[in-house]
Symmetry: C2
Subunit: 333 residues, 2 copies
DNA sequence: GTGAAAGCGCTAACAC
DNA sequence: GTGTTAGCGCTTTCAC
């Protein structure tokens, strides 16, 4: 049915070895034979079977990205960055979605174990440090966006602590002293923890006392932002600003506030985190902390590919530069 | 380095054939040996190399989804539906992004040619009917979301003509007679053309004369919605409603209108198309036509897998049910 | 410069 | 019920 290297060899009147040489750009082939082979390839519309090639070469030049959801423009942008870079070095990026289920994640990891892919990037994972370290011993894996405490695995992420510090700092410099914080309940999500720590440090360094009633913690679901707003509005002394550790939460806050007759950017300042595409499409446009998505994607793939080709694995934690972006939701233009 | 079926065989004291039988659930293995093999597998942490397996079986159980962008929740949802279904039948879905470049699309298609995947679903494509028909002769491909005129290729999509008709019908029934239409300039995007046709038919059947000045056509970019709004606002007799063939355009219209002091849902009705996640997060919430994403994903994968396993290819055009959803942007609740 | 042949890891037909 | 072996399509020594 499908045409193989043998067919091409027969058609060109050469051996399969020669065909292989031509296809892989070996120099030790006469121009004349190369021409004949190329003609045969074209005539038969031959496309080499990568299962055979990869089996032989023991590599696939494919990297798998595993993520909790594909409905997050942050991830889309990171993957875009990965692909742009991968393309330049002859790799392909494919992706799979876990829906945050560890069973699904484990299933998808089999593509790594069974050599369907050369490496895996985890954009948030259910694995713990111990499991990751064990995996990293035998396979090439990397974390992106979200590190794992105690994991000695190649990681690329922003400095969440400093980023949250800078966000809070920006709010404080605008005169806010009562700032509500929206985080998540978790002692494993280290980005969330770091963001809370950075936020607290900013208050601290500016001599603002930490008021536990101004902390609302639930999860990343859209509704949680509205619930937080409900809560903050119920306080006798409402905060004048709110910092949410994700844009989606911030957007939910803004919408909920409007329902209550409170205008974000005028009556209350709201700052998110991530700089998802929607931030610019909202009214008001949402202030946030930008993660340099394409950069992160590029870096993690570059480092992972290096690891794939060496025994001396790089398991460092790379930090990329964030940027506070002030827009209408904090009263800026 | 990596452990193979041979190692397991040696460890268990059996032949590789027996190991293979145990792994693939052949019944003709004694419980005792099966136990020994399984023990060996566990002990050595063996995971079969799928390159070898797939090469031999001439299939990979992987389907590739190629799409123009990953930053579109419509696509994310469709892929989610694909994955949920694929999982139940032992297939994996992987995806790749073309950024609407035909060269990138062609490059990614090589994964089909070189047998890295068993089939491909195109979520919008740069190929024309002739090319698709040629491809479909030798490979298993399907279109989803967006058909191609004249392509005899398995396709799953909504009935765009009827869907747009229903959307316009809903606006007309609310009393609107001057309805602006935002489409795109293209004579190849058949969904866009069908939507325009459906829109016109609705006007027609309700005895509303078609006014060419109420048609604005550009592209799917976010900014185009704002430009359209600019244009419509400049008309001496402004339309009372606007139907955009994508939610993003509708959202852009709503935002631009607000900048102009025109409130969507009160001063002007706005209806989009797709029912992307953002529709529910906007203020006002956006009325739209829902495409049953998960259903579409499930159906196209089911049919494609059927095709993979038969010589009698199904190249029908399957239509799935759309649904008009009225929300605040058309003055509904 | 080119061909013959081994072998990547696996499955399946064929023996026994 | 189990082992031997051919071969999937390819790359890469090793000859010549």
């Amino acid at each position: 049915m499908s045409v193989t290297i043998k067919d091409v060899a027969k058609e060109a009147g050469v051996s399969v070895a020669t065909v292989s040489r031509v296809l892989n750009g070996s120099c030790s082939v006469s121009e004349d034979t190369a021409q004949r082979v190329n003609d045969a390839v074209k005539k038969l519309r031959y496309s080499p079977n990568f299962l055979g090639r990869n089996l032989r070469k023991r590599e696939t030049n494919v990297i798998l990205v595993i993520m909790p959801t594909s409905e997050h423009s942050l991830y889309s942008k990171i993957i875009m960055g990965m692909q742009k870079y991968a393309e330049t070095v002859g790799y392909d990026i494919i992706s799979a979605v876990t829906r945050s289920a560890s069973t699904v994640e484990a299933r998808q990891m089999t593509m790594l174990f069974n050599r369907t892919v050369d490496g895996v990037v985890l954009l948030g994972t259910q694995y713990d440090a111990k499991q990751l370290n064990e995996l990293a011993e035998n396979y090439d894996i990397a974390l992106c966006c979200e590190g794992v405490e105690g994991a000695n695995v190649l990681t690329v992420a922003v400095d969440d602590e400093q980023a949250a510090y800078d966000a809070a700092d920006a709010l404080i410099k605008k005169g806010h002293k009562r700032i509500g914080f929206i985080g998540i309940k978790s002692d494993t999500a280290i980005s969330a923890i770091a963001r809370e720590n950075g936020f607290k440090r900013a208050l601290d360094e500016h001599g603002i006392k930490i008021d536990d009633t101004l902390f609302y913690r639930e999860d990343y679901e859209y509704d949680s932002g509205a619930k937080a707003m409900d809560y903050f509005a119920s306080l006798k002394d409402r905060p004048t600003a709110i910092f949410a550790i994700s844009d989606l939460l911030a957007i939910s806050v803004i919408n909920k506030a409007r329902d209550m007759g409170i205008k974000a950017g005028e009556d209350i300042a709201v700052m998110g985190f991530d700089n998802i595409t929607m931030c610019e499409m909202m009214i008001p446009k949402v202030s946030t902390v930008e993660q340099p998505c394409e950069k992160m994607g590029e870096l993690v793939i570059a480092k992972l590919i290096e690891n794939i080709h060496t025994d001396n694995k790089d398991n460092r934690y790379y930090t990329v530069k964030h940027r506070v972006i002030l827009r209408e939701s904090t009263g800026d233009k």
